[in-house]
């Protein structure tokens, strides 16, 4: 199967609030897919619909070739889920909960369980009411990673982990990918997404505003150029696709759309280039562009 998750035109309202407003999401089998968006954009709602916990109002949702509402139980045999806000049974120990969730998903590999406990440095004998947020997250993460499933659905899985554990998490996800598992990763930590994800989807106000590989997304935006030339070519000022042009003597800074980059650089080369730095847009900038609310602030960034 080519796609693990295929969502088109998904709509879900809670009373008068429209949480999802025609959301699209396509996750290919075997890829790690980043699912990004500001708080309240509809990421968790989408995931809960994918799990058959919520019923969509309209739109098409296919998960591992099935309907998440009608085939919930059958589909859940093939996936593991890590919620963003992990709540555990307070009087059960972490070890007991890992075993419980593992058994419910059809078995757990005891060696992998032991290895993951060690890697994540989790004490399985503590009652879960004594765990911090990060440790609660580790309990569910270990249960998910040690289960034999095709798809991992992770909702901000590292929001409580320390940087060391975050690195461990990244290693684990890379291993899962190598084993051919599909991962849907909702996250706010852009560095994590940049390292792990093959493709990303950005949602805002319940709609998908961007979707594709990072290279594709970058292609849509501009590159920061800073150069020192013998004489600044006047043609630069009139070139289509140049923004924020700033000339200081023989130094020039501007940002340029991807399709005008080659033209701009050839102008600079002909003008006697002494030094040049080209910076692709960071993921951070990409997201800021989409996270900003209101047309005005958005234009400020783009212009």
């Amino acid at each position: 199967m080519a796609t693990a998750i295929e969502v088109t035109g998904l709509i879900k309202s809670f009373g008068r609030t429209r949480a999802l407003d025609g959301l699209n999401l396509s996750v290919r089998t075997g890829e790690v897919h980043g699912f990004l968006g500001p708080n309240g954009a509809g990421k968790t709602t989408t995931i809960r619909i994918l799990l058959g916990l919520l019923r969509s109002d309209a739109g098409d949702v296919r998960l591992l070739g099935g309907d998440p509402w009608h085939d919930a139980t059958a589909l859940h045999r093939r996936l593991a889920y890590v919620p963003g806000d992990v709540s555990l049974w307070p009087n059960l120990t972490g070890g007991e909960i890992i075993d419980l969730l593992g058994k419910l998903r059809g078995g757990i590999d005891p060696r992998r369980r032991a290895a993951l406990l060690e890697r994540f440095e989790l004490d399985p004998r503590k009652q879960s009411r004594a765990y911090s947020k990060g440790n609660r997250q580790k309990v569910v993460l270990i249960a998910a990673l040690a289960s034999d499933v095709e798809l991992l659905i992770l909702d901000e899985p590292t929001s409580g982990l320390d940087p060391l554990m975050e690195a461990t998490f990244r290693e684990c996800i890379a291993e899962e990918k190598a084993r051919g598992r599909t991962v849907l990763l909702s996250s706010h930590i852009l560095a994590e997404v940049e390292v792990l994800c093959d493709r990303v989807s950005i949602v805002r106000n319940g709609r998908t505003v961007e979707s594709g590989t990072l290279a594709e997304l970058r292609h849509l935006t501009h590159t920061e150029v800073s150069a020192e030339v013998t004489a600044v070519p006047p043609a630069l000022a009139t070139l289509e696709g140049i923004h924020h042009l700033d000339i200081q003597g023989n130094r020039v800074r501007f940002s340029v759309d991807a399709n005008a980059l080659g033209h701009a650089l050839s102008l600079l080369t002909n003008a006697g280039l002494h030094s040049l730095t080209c910076q692709p847009p960071t993921l951070e900038e990409l997201f800021l562009r989409h996270y900003e609310t209101g047309e005005q602030s958005r234009q400020e960034v783009v212009r």
Binding site: L53, H76, Y81, V86, S87, P90, N91, T93
Partner: protein, 537 residues
């Protein structure tokens, strides 16, 4: 004062959060007292009638054990006899829960960290919770006194009753303050508090049942009786209550100063590193439900055994012109039943009706699991919705039967051994078990509410439970008068239909089959609606 900074703010916060709960409790308690007083004023209009009633009741230790001695033929004394222990206990329960809510729960949830990071003294949270709980106790006492005075009942006795009631609240507020220091979690605190409350009642019960009045000094509930409202009032006991309150509270304050925020005196022990038995939702549900179930089974066994023994001391009433008979006759399944059997029937009915508290708590566990997000985690695995519900339903339906069976078994067994009447055992045991289908109807109703209106399910379930209790046997006679058994309102509660075979009523299968059928329909409707709704809504 040092350590008390922020108390006023925390008190206002607590009052703001309590603006519905505590007023509802207080109104309910005052309504119970005044309602009984109004009813008794009608039933016992003259001193002579009251004296006869008191003389007849006092011969029966089994009845006296439940409510304590009737201290005089004063109307107020009869009211205290009927409702005193109920309101002492309910007020104590309210106070326990209130103190825990603003001490241990706040620490456990981490909210106290947020508050204590402000200008809040070490003693402020405990002090605020005590101010609210003690204030509510005093207000309840005061309102009851005013209510009784309004009905023209003896002022000194009324005041003494108000003092006993408020005193019960103060003592248990202090106990709660102490218990809140012991464990790291609220659940354990509530368990310890509930055990203290039950023990307090049972010690007093035993004192009257076996005729050893000195035992009453060992129990806060006993102190309320020793104060003897409407009898020869012993005001010194009120002083004892106050001293006990202060001493226990002082101890609690000492502990607060010596422990870390969030920690308890009982250190948590490490648990198992894994589990081979937690392999299905049923295993998990058993793990979550077994503690409360065990508690109920033990409580029902003890109460059953005690009541089975107490039935032997029931004197035969004089059938004609007996006020004792009018007091008890509506429990009877047959006009020719002996008073011992009527007494047993009364206990059987009470065990049946009280078991719905277990049923409701156990069924509402589904909602708690959903609200806490545990259901989401489970339902993200191959566990389907029906299987998840079934895992809990098995224990609520079966648990109710087990609880009833435990009570009926021990009551029947002890009655058989003490009276030598072998036939008493099956009559009591089966008579108790027959209440299960009625409790199942409540479980079905709870499940349907859970399916249709999840947000309101908890509140509406308790409304239904209270309706059944009030209309059933407690407030039924007060609200509807002596013929309440035959009213439509009573017929709407399932226990109305249970055959009363313990006291010679005929066994009829039809109502039981109807109740079982109704509960099955409700459960199916609950499952269907739950399958169609959003999780977490």
């Amino acid at each position: 004062m040092k350590g008390l900074e922020g108390t006023a703010t925390l008190t206002r916060l607590a009052l703001r959060r309590e603006r519905v709960t505590i007023p509802v409790w207080i109104v309910l308690l005052v309504a119970l007292v005044v309602g009984v007083a109004v009813n008794y004023k009608r039933i016992f209009p003259t001193e002579l009638i009251r004296e006869n009633f008191v003389a007849e009741m006092s011969k029966n230790l089994a009845l006296i054990a439940f409510s304590g001695h009737i201290v005089s033929a004063n109307l107020g004394a009869l009211v205290v006899f009927k409702i005193g222990d109920s309101v002492y206990t309910l007020l104590a329960l309210m106070v326990l829960l209130t103190v825990f809510r603003y001490t241990r729960t706040e620490e456990e949830s981490g909210r106290q960290d947020l508050l204590s990071a402000g200008v809040v003294g070490r003693y402020a949270p405990l002090t605020a919770s005590l101010i609210v709980a003690c204030g509510a106790s005093l207000l309840t006492g005061l309102l009851c006194v005013l209510g009784l005075l309004g009905l023209g009942i003896d002022p000194v006795g009324s005041l003494a009753f108000g003092v006993a009631l408020a005193g019960s609240g103060l003592v248990f507020a202090a106990l709660a303050a102490l218990v809140a220091q012991l464990s790291e979690n609220t659940r354990t605190a509530i368990t310890i508090g509930a055990i203290a409350l039950v023990a307090s009642y049972l010690i007093r019960f035993a004192a009257d049942a076996i005729g050893q009045p000195w035992l009453e000094w060992l129990s806060p509930n006993g102190w309320c009786h020793l104060l003897a409202p409407f009898g020869n009032e012993q005001w010194g006991v009120a002083g004892l209550m106050l001293v006990a309150t202060i001493v226990v509270e002082a101890f609690a304050y000492l502990l607060v100063a010596r422990r870390d925020l969030g920690s308890g005196l009982l250190a948590p022990r490490p648990g198992p590193a894994g589990s081979t038995s937690l392999r299905s939702p049923f295993a998990l549900a058993w793990r979550l439900q077994r503690g409360p179930l065990l508690g109920w089974v033990i409580a029902y066994s003890v109460i059953g055994a005690v009541c089975g023994a107490a039935a032997g001391s029931m004197q035969e009433f004089i059938r004609s012109s007996s006020f004792g008979m009018t007091f008890l006759i509506h429990y009877s399944g047959s006009p020719n039943a002996s008073s011992a059997d009527i007494f047993l029937e009364m206990i059987v009915i009470t065990l049946g009706m009280v078991s719905v508290f277990y049923s409701a708590f156990a069924t509402l566990q589904l909602r708690s699991e959903e609200v806490a997000g545990h259901a989401e985690l489970l339902l993200s695995t191959p566990v389907g919705r029906i299987r998840w519900i079934a895992s809990h339903l098995l224990f609520t339906l079966g648990g109710t039967v087990v609880v009833l069976a435990a009570g009926g078994f021990f009551m029947g067994l002890v009655r058989w051994l003490s009276s030598g009447d072998v036939a008493a055992f099956p009559r009591v045991f089966t008579g108790t078990l027959l209440h299960a289908p009625a409790a199942w109807v409540l479980i079905g109703a709870t499940l349907l509410l859970f399916g249709i209106v999840p947000r309101l399910a908890v509140a509406m379930t308790w409304v239904v439970v209270v309706y059944v209790q009030l209309i059933g046997e407690v407030l039924g006679p007060i609200v509807l008068g002596p013929t309440y058994r035959y009213s439509v309102i009573n017929a709407l509660q399932p226990f109305h239909w249970v055959p009363r075979i313990t006291s010679g009523g005929a066994f009829t299968a039809t109502p039981l089959l109807m109740l079982t059928g109704l509960s099955i329909l409700l459960i199916i409707a609950g499952l269907l609606t739950f399958q169609r709704r959003n999780i977490g809504s």
